[in-house]
Symmetry: C2
Subunit: 288 residues, 2 copies
């Protein structure tokens, strides 16, 4: 039995700091967790990584079940980490596992780790369950629909922005990056767990919106009308296309209205997450 | 003389594809260029890197002088690269140097290189020269002021957004990341060269704005008034703080007005570049 296996005791003790930490990079659970950075492994295992204090806090707050919760006190930034570990163990089924500093540093995908990294089963967040998850959100629906976003950082920033704007939900169509990429979780600062999210095919998403009487407003540089010249206070889905190609022909043909964000510069486009922010906060302004 | 030195001829031939490419990773000019990824080397050499077709196009269009212009036809995406190399040689003093594929791939800092990477002297963009550079911009001044931004990607995205919003200028205070970081150039998609930019100390920047009668509007989550409830059509400087700490006490004390972006979510903040976009495009909306 190798040295690192001692950490197994970390699973069962009630004081998460009481067991000896795992010191071997070859520990099978550490290696299994590290593999979840890779999409194929996430898809195969049905699990993903949640790194960071705020991210873990929001996952626990949202009631997500957790698996292993790796921690390393040397990286803690404050006093709140141990109570969160305890809460995660009690309410989310997390299994705390202490790692030695060099092992945690290796498992972490951050420049500045804060000593918490959880493994969690990938939730089944599809269109069929979205109504129930979004039911608590008051007011006319405001839904951000994004198509084929490639960059995890952009997708995560869009989730964070939609959360801040009080959006009813975010629907991710035809994903090029999966929602469970560690950089989505990071850029979302854990709002992946607080704003209702669903993945779906574009045609199914359009049908879902149509059934609910939600007006589909597509953003495209080729539109005549400005985003601020249309009524966004009604039930609205704001649709944003990919960084490289924008929205596809079906979305542009089957939307209720096309709008553009004004461009006054020499460059011809905005970052996709910036575009989402500009239209979401214009909707918020109109809604007072 | 090592094999890679053959590429020296690339400096003088009129057909940039006519000389044999540099094939050695040890070529001194390739190594000198690679070192410019590091801030200390940029500061010491007074040079920085411009990678990419659009970025190089905008630098040439803005009249920046260039040094070496490394290129690798195997990575070209279209037919426009060779005419741009020729134009850069004639109008910007660029010295085209062809690199073998593996050498260019090593020098590039992109996942998907497009075969162009220039070295350029760092411009002296200070407050003293900003009036002259911004003089061509019509209408009431709209200036984005950012303080101590840490992430190059955020700073570059802010430049891209300010360009799209038709901002008069961007002023970078107390920089934590320097403007000449390769990831600033990349995230700005070359708008670093199209929107007038200056670096300065915060106190000097406030004096500069006051002398010109420009109203200073600071964004902070603690303000009472919403960003959309104040007049942004007047000459305005919108001030955004760092990702981690927001604006410092001096900016908050010495501004003309504080505004906040409404927050309706569970998270307590927006990405700094998103905040800049929301206030810039609200100003643009008010200006019609």
């Amino acid at each position: 039995m190798e040295r690192g296996e001692r950490g197994e005791r970390g699973l069962t003790v009630s004081d998460p700091g009481g067991a000896l930490p795992i010191t071997s990079l070859q520990n099978p659970r550490v290696k299994a967790a590290a593999r979840l950075r890779d999409r194929r492994d996430r898809d195969r295992e049905g699990q993903f990584l949640i790194e960071g204090y705020r991210e873990t806090l929001r996952a626990v707050g949202a009631g997500l079940p957790l698996g292993e919760l790796f921690f390393c006190p040397a990286f803690f930034l404050g006093e709140n980490e141990r109570p969160l570990i305890e809460r995660a163990r009690e309410s989310s089924g997390a299994r705390p596992v202490e790692l030695a500093e060099h092992v945690f540093a290796k498992l972490s995908y951050r420049d500045r780790p804060d000593g918490l990294l959880a493994v969690a089963p990938i939730p089944k967040w599809d269109l069929a369950s979205l109504d129930a998850r979004a039911a608590a959100r008051a007011g006319a629906p405001l839904i951000l629909v994004v198509q084929a976003i490639e960059k995890p950082g952009n997708l995560g920033t869009m989730l964070r922005t939609a959360d801040a704007a009080g959006a009813t939900a975010v629907i991710v169509c035809d994903p090029a990056t999966d929602l469970w990429n560690p950089n989505v979780v990071r850029a979302s600062v854990g709002t992946l767990f607080t704003v209702p999210v669903a993945e779906g095919e574009s045609a199914a998403v359009r049908a879902w919106l149509r059934e609910r009487g939600i007006r589909v407003v597509a953003t495209t540089p080729d539109a005549e009308r400005l985003h601020s010249e249309t009524d966004l206070a009604r039930p609205t889905a704001l649709v944003i296309g990919s960084e490289q190609y924008g929205l596809d022909a079906e979305w542009l043909a089957e939307c209720d209205e096309r709008v553009r964000i004004p461009m006054r510069g020499e460059a011809d486009s905005l970052n996709a997450a910036i575009s989402a922010a500009v239209v979401l906060f214009e909707a918020l302004r109109q809604r007072g």
